[in-house]
Each structure stands twice: as structure tokens, then as C-alpha cells.
């Protein structure tokens, strides 16, 4: 058993590694470059080039991939020669941001910049302000006599300055473009890497992606849990009913219902429900508008239609599997024996059919997380529900690359993880699988 789990864990790691390569390749290397996606169509080539340099996009692909996954701070530390530290600054209740600083010999946090052609060191004070002191002695000289310096700049990047040879930097800020001369000529954006919990900063919300994901995950979790709560019992019950009445009108109607709900796209189901319940009967709201991201449960009426949409699709699916499983069990020899033995119909159904036919649907439901995630994206988009699915859709529409990468890695890990757990549970129930 231990060997089986280890083998499965190993394949899962390989799968996730390939997944990360695929995501990285599709999002960052494929045509349509990241800098242009961020800047929009009206940036000049110089601005685009400067942006690419600042984002580290001019580095080799392998280096970028490693930085994304494992971080770039250790690469930068080697160049700067000082340890780097990330601190979190809290502003008010919600607004938080992260800053990178170098740790100086005396333990103070420092950054650098060029002021009037001179290198300045900015020392962070306990109250958050900085004091600048000239740091001309820090320049280093290479073989050809060029004076250079690697340090941390004021935008969370390791930067390379070369004396007397300032680069031109275009920075895109809230107010618009800011051009500065005497800027660094090369950059390494500092990140801890996805595996160390740093998913980068969202280009759209300008907030750490990991925090954006966390707040929406709860909302999606509530929606998914409620949908499961409605669809699993109902789906099993209706599937059992259909399977026991195979070929009769009840089965025909239920089977058709199952086929129609699973075959129709989720958005169509949602639209029909909105038309019936909110436009025609006017009993439920057709969109979810919450006072705040966290106030989902304050207005349960708004949850009804999203939950109903998500569960209808899921229910049809469970119904179809349960029906197939029940039909198979009913035709088995042990059920025939039980009937011939003279057991009552209730006893046969409860003791023989039900127990044996539930195994298949329950394992399939656990394998179904993957599919549910896709469904949530659509359902959340139909109702404007503030969940993770809607978040990732908007990230895709606005090309918020770091948000897409992090959110998809997270969702796939979730899907692969539950699949692994389902497989392990199943192998406990069915020893044949273990030795396959």
C-alpha cells in the first residue's frame, strides 16, 4: 500500500511539473508578448523594450521559469552580495503590500538609487521613511574598467547600475508614463517563487495574487459545497429510481432529463433559470450583487439560482452514472438469487442493490472536481458571482498573466490532489487496483 501511494505521489509531482511547464509556455512564451499585454496597444517600442527589461522578460526562458517557480532572490543575492529580505507593510485594514530590501552589514534595511549622478543608499527607518546617504564607495570595477553596482531599487527589483551610463527607464504609473534617465541598465524582478508561496502581484488589481485568490476561494467553496449538498442526494435518489424502473416511462423521463441537463452548456441552464425565476415569475434575483466580497451569506436569496444551476448539471451526471450502475446490479446473479429466495422488494433494494450500486457513483463524484471547476467558471460568470472562477476568467480576459498562472496552478493542484485522494480511497475499497 505504501508503495502504491509513493508511486502515485511521484507521478503526481511529474504531472504538476509538466503542467507548470505547459502553463508557463502558453502564458509567457506564446505569441502575444507580456509587456504589450500590460501596456496596451498604444505604447512606443522604446517603452515596450524598457518594460520588458524591467520585468526581466529579456532573460533566458529557463531562467525565467526557474525564477517563477523557485524565486529569483537567491540569484540576485549572489550578484548583490548581501542577503535580501521581504517585508509586508500593512496600510489600513485591507491594503497590504510587500517590499524587498537588502540587509546591510549593521542589520538595517537598505535600497539604492541614483541622485544627481551619484549613487545613494537609502536606509529604512523604523517609521517606514528612508534616509538617503551617498554611497559612492560601493561601485565595483570590472576587468575593462567599467564601474558597476548591483543593488535593490525602489520597485522590488535587483538592478544593475553602470557609472556614467544611465539607462532610459519608462515607468507606467497611475498618473501615466514617467521617463527617467540615469536608470539601471538591467533588472531582476525579485520574487520568492510560486513554490515558496509568492504568486506575484496582479497586474490588474495591483495586489498580491495569493491574497486575491484566498478571498475568492471561500466564496467558490460555499457555492460548490451547496451545489454538492443539493445534487448528490437528489442525483443518487433519482438515479436509483430510474435504474429500478428500467425501460418504464419514469426511467425514460428521468434519463432524458439527465441527458438534457448534462448535455446543455452550463450557461444555457443558468440563462433558462434566470428567465423562469427572475424575469417571468419574478421571485429570485438573476444576478448576485453583494455589498462586499465577504458578505455572501448575508443574502441567501441571491445564492439560490447559482447553486441551482451548478447542481442541475452535476445532478444529471450523477443520475446517469447511478442509473447505469443500478441497472447492472439489478441484472446480477446475487440480486436474482435474493429475489428467488423470496425476499421482499424493499429488502432486495435496500440490502443488495443500493449497497452495491453506490460505489461507482461515489468514486466518480470524487474524480469530478476537475469538471466542477470548469462549471464554476461558467456559473460564476453568468451570475457575476465573486468567486475564483470569475476571477480567473477576468484574469484571462485582461491578460493578467501572474494571476492566470497562479490561479490555474492552484486549481490544477486541487483537482490532481483530490484525484489522488479518491484513488487511494478506492484502492482501499478495491484491492485489485493496488497491484495493477
Amino acid at each position: 500500500m505504501a508503495r502504491y501511494i509513493i508511486r502515485r505521489l511521484f507521478t503526481m509531482v511529474i504531472t504538476m511539473l509538466v503542467v507548470s511547464i505547459v502553463i508557463f509556455a502558453v502564458v509567457e512564451i506564446a505569441p502575444g508578448n507580456v509587456a504589450r499585454n500590460i501596456l496596451g496597444a498604444y505604447a512606443t517600442p522604446e517603452q515596450e523594450k524598457s518594460m520588458e527589461n524591467q520585468l526581466g522578460l529579456d532573460r533566458p526562458v529557463a531562467t525565467r521559469y526557474i525564477s517563477w517557480l523557485f524565486g529569483s532572490d537567491w540569484q540576485a543575492e549572489r550578484k548583490i552580495g548581501r542577503p535580501l529580505k521581504e517585508i509586508v507593510i500593512q496600510q489600513g485594514i485591507v491594503e497590504r503590500f510587500r517590499q524587498w530590501w537588502a540587509v546591510d552589514e549593521d542589520g538595517s534595511l537598505v535600497r539604492w538609487g541614483i541622485q544627481d549622478g551619484q549613487l545613494y543608499k537609502y536606509i529604512r527607518q523604523p517609521d517606514g521613511s528612508t534616509v538617503g546617504v551617498p554611497d559612492e564607495g560601493a561601485w565595483r570595477t570590472d576587468e575593462s574598467g567599467i564601474q558597476y553596482f548591483w543593488g535593490v531599487d525602489n520597485a522590488n527589483r535587483a538592478a544593475l547600475w553602470i557609472k556614467g551610463q544611465g539607462g532610459v527607464e519608462y515607468r507606467y504609473e497611475y498618473s501615466g508614463w514617467r521617463k527617467s534617465e540615469n536608470a539601471p541598465v538591467d533588472y531582476i524582478p525579485l520574487t520568492k517563487g510560486l513554490l515558496r508561496g509568492d504568486a506575484g502581484v496582479s497586474l490588474r488589481y495591483r495586489a498580491p495574487v495569493s491574497e486575491l485568490i484566498a478571498s475568492r476561494l471561500k466564496n467558490s467553496g460555499i457555492l460548490a459545497a451547496l451545489a454538492f449538498l443539493v445534487s448528490i442526494p437528489l442525483g443518487l435518489l433519482l438515479g436509483l429510481l430510474a435504474g429500478l424502473n428500467e425501460g418504464k416511462p419514469a426511467d425514460r423521463i428521468l434519463s432524458l432529463f439527465g441527458l438534457v441537463t448534462t448535455a446543455s452548456p452550463d450557461f444555457a441552464t443558468g440563462i433558462f433559470l434566470i428567465m423562469i425565476f427572475s424575469l417571468w415569475l419574478k421571485v429570485l434575483p438573476g444576478a448576485t450583487v453583494f455589498a462586499s466580497q465577504t458578505a455572501i451569506l448575508d443574502n441567501p436569496k441571491m445564492l439560490v439560482l447559482p447553486v441551482l444551476t451548478a447542481s442541475l448539471v452535476e445532478m444529471g451526471y450523477i443520475l446517469r452514472i447511478t442509473r447505469a450502475s443500478v441497472v447492472e446490479v439489478v441484472q446480477s446473479n446475487y440480486v436474482r438469487t435474493a429475489v428467488l429466495k423470496g425476499l421482499s422488494r424493499t429488502q432486495v433494494v435496500l440490502r443488495h442493490v443500493l449497497r452495491n450500486s453506490l460505489l461507482a457513483p461515489i468514486t466518480v463524484i470524487m474524480l469530478h472536481v476537475n469538471w466542477l471547476i470548469g462549471g464554476l467558471v461558467v456559473v460564476e460568470s453568468v451570475f457575476g458571482y465573486p468567486g475564483l472562477g470569475n476571477f480567473i476568467l477576468n484574469a484571462a480576459l485582461y491578460k493578467d498573466v501572474y494571476a492566470i498562472e497562479a490561479a490555474s496552478m492552484f486549481l490544477i493542484l486541487l483537482a490532481v490532489g483530490t484525484q489522488l485522494i479518491a484513488d487511494i480511497i478506492y484502492s482501499f475499497l478495491n484491492p485489485r487496483v493496488r497491484y495493477a
Binding site: V18, V26, P265, I373, L397
Partner: protein
């Protein structure tokens, strides 16, 4: 004529005709498949004769009638730009009925290229191919499409590429499983002994014998492809705006549903009937072939 052969000679053409008759017979022995086929054929008819079924083009704007319900001039009303809804539905059938089979065709090519060698050679080829397929299958389908489309942009070609990449692993797995079974047969051993090259054996001996289950699977996949083309359109990741696309019509009309439900209702009914029809057809056919065996 001294000796008359006791065998009945069948020419390849006759064989093909027989197989065709068997296939048609299979469809007609399942009421579900017939119903599904009928629905699909109605849409195919609408798609082919779209220009004759409406006096408008899907792009023409009637500025005096914007967002109106059904009227004698516009049988299904007009959308928020004053375009005729029926014209857009009819021409939208062309879009989806063209893109769905094409993307399944591309997926089939990809799946064939990956699945045949994996099953035939086994060993490390199989191991590498299967790990890649597992990784792509680990993606929730819609997520995979979203990532691809957001990276390469929304266009008909890109939608086809995305759906083909999403569908290929399933087809590859099926072909691999069938190949694993077929490669142990005697006629494969015979082909090897005659010195046929592996490529020849894979494409001329194994592939044609995968036909039965493969056709049913591909038919089911056309249904899924239509499902996802609609969904991508609804999510705003489908075909770029002026193109008549059912999913896109729902996306656009969604905002105006309280004033005029007709664009949304028509497009939703269209996509549901087509996808359910395709599913009924493929499902009925699958059940019938299972009974047949």
C-alpha cells in the same frame, strides 16, 4: 467454365456498401439516434440554406428597431444593435457546425499521432506520451481553453486549436488502448513477418481496425466541441464580435435581458437543441453498437 467457385465474391465496393447499410441500419434501430439525427439535420439544413431562409444578413443594422421583440419584419426580433436575431441564429449555425467537426478532426489527427506509437511501441515512448497526456488531462477543460485563448487571442483558428488540444488526450488514450489490444492479433504478427515498416502497420493495419469505437467517440466529441464553442463564446473568449456566434449572442444579450429576452432566448434554445441532438445521436448509436456486439 469448368469449376464454379462456391465462394461468393465480394468486390471492395460491395463491401463498403454493405458496411454503409449496416451503419445506417444501426442508426435506424435506435429511436434515440433517429431523434438526435433529425434535430442535427434540421440545423444542418438551416446552416446550408441560411441565405435563403432570411432576407437579412447577420450584420445589417435596422436603426429604427433596436432591441425589439418579434414582429412581421423580424420574426425573432432584433438585438441591441438592431440586427435580425433569426439571421444571426441561422448564420450562427454555420459557424458552430463548421468549427465543431473541424476541431474534432484536428484533435483526431493529434490523438492519432500520439496514441498509435504509444500503444504500438510501448516502453519509454508510451511512458513519455502518457505523462504528457496526463498533464493535459489534469487541466479542467474550460481552464485550458481560457489559458490558450487568452495567450493567443480569440479567432476561429485559435478556437479550433484550443478545442483540438483539449480533445486530443482523450482520443489518444482511446487509440492507445485499442492499439494495445490489436497489436497482439495474428494479422499484425503476419505483417511484421512480411517486413512491413511500423508506420505502415500502425496506419494501414491497426488504425482501420479501431474504426468502430473511434467513430462513436468522435461523434460524441463533436457534441462536446459544440458545447465548448458555445461556452467559450459566452465567456467572451470565442469568435470576435461581428461574427454570428450563438455563445457570443448570449453574452451580448445577457445585459439587455430585462428589456428584450429574444436574442438570448433564441441563441440559448439553438445551442441546447443542437448539443442535445448531437448527444442523443451519438449516445443512441453507442448503445446500439454495444448491444450489437
Amino acid at each position: 467454365m469448368a469449376v464454379e467457385s462456391t465462394f461468393i465474391r465480394i468486390t471492395p465496393a460491395q463491401l463498403r456498401w454493405r458496411r454503409f447499410k449496416e451503419g445506417v441500419g444501426l442508426i435506424f434501430s435506435s429511436p434515440t439516434a433517429v431523434l438526435g439525427l433529425a434535430i442535427v439535420l434540421i440545423w444542418v439544413f438551416i446552416a446550408i440554406f441560411a441565405p435563403y431562409l432570411t432576407q437579412y444578413t447577420p450584420y445589417e443594422q435596422d436603426y429604427k428597431n433596436v432591441n425589439k421583440g418579434p414582429s412581421p419584419q423580424h420574426i425573432l426580433g432584433t438585438d441591441h444593435l438592431g440586427r435580425d436575431v433569426w439571421a444571426r441564429v441561422a448564420f450562427g449555425a454555420r459557424t458552430i457546425l463548421l468549427l465543431a467537426p473541424i476541431s474534432v478532426g484536428v484533435a483526431f489527427l493529434l490523438g492519432m499521432i500520439l496514441g498509435l506509437p504509444a500503444g504500438y511501441f510501448g516502453g519509454w515512448v508510451d511512458e513519455v506520451v502518457m505523462r504528457i497526456l496526463d498533464s493535459i488531462m489534469a487541466f479542467p477543460t474550460i481552464l485550458l481553453y481560457m489559458i490558450i485563448i487568452s495567450a493567443v487571442g480569440a479567432s476561429p483558428v485559435n478556437v479550433v486549436i484550443a478545442i483540438a488540444i483539449g480533445g486530443a488526450p482523450g482520443i489518444a488514450r482511446l487509440i492507445r488502448a485499442l492499439t494495445l489490444d490489436i497489436r497482439t492479433r495474428e494479422y499484425i504478427a503476419a505483417a511484421r513477418l512480411r517486413g512491413d515498416r511500423p508506420v505502415h502497420i500502425m496506419f494501414r493495419e491497426i488504425l482501420p481496425n479501431c474504426r468502430g469505437p473511434l467513430i462513436v467517440d468522435l461523434l460524441l466529441r463533436i457534441g462536446y466541441a459544440a458545447f465548448y464553442i458555445g461556452t467559450l463564446g459566452f465567456l467572451g473568449l470565442g469568435l470576435p464580435p461581428p461574427t454570428p456566434d450563438w455563445g457570443g449572442m448570449v453574452q451580448e444579450g445577457h445585459k439587455f435581458m430585462t428589456t428584450n429576452v429574444w436574442p438570448v432566448l433564441s441563441a440559448t434554445v439553438a445551442i441546447v437543441t443542437l448539443v442535445v441532438g448531437l448527444n442523443l445521436f451519438a449516445d443512441g448509436l453507442r448503445e446500439e453498437t454495444m448491444r450489437y456486439q
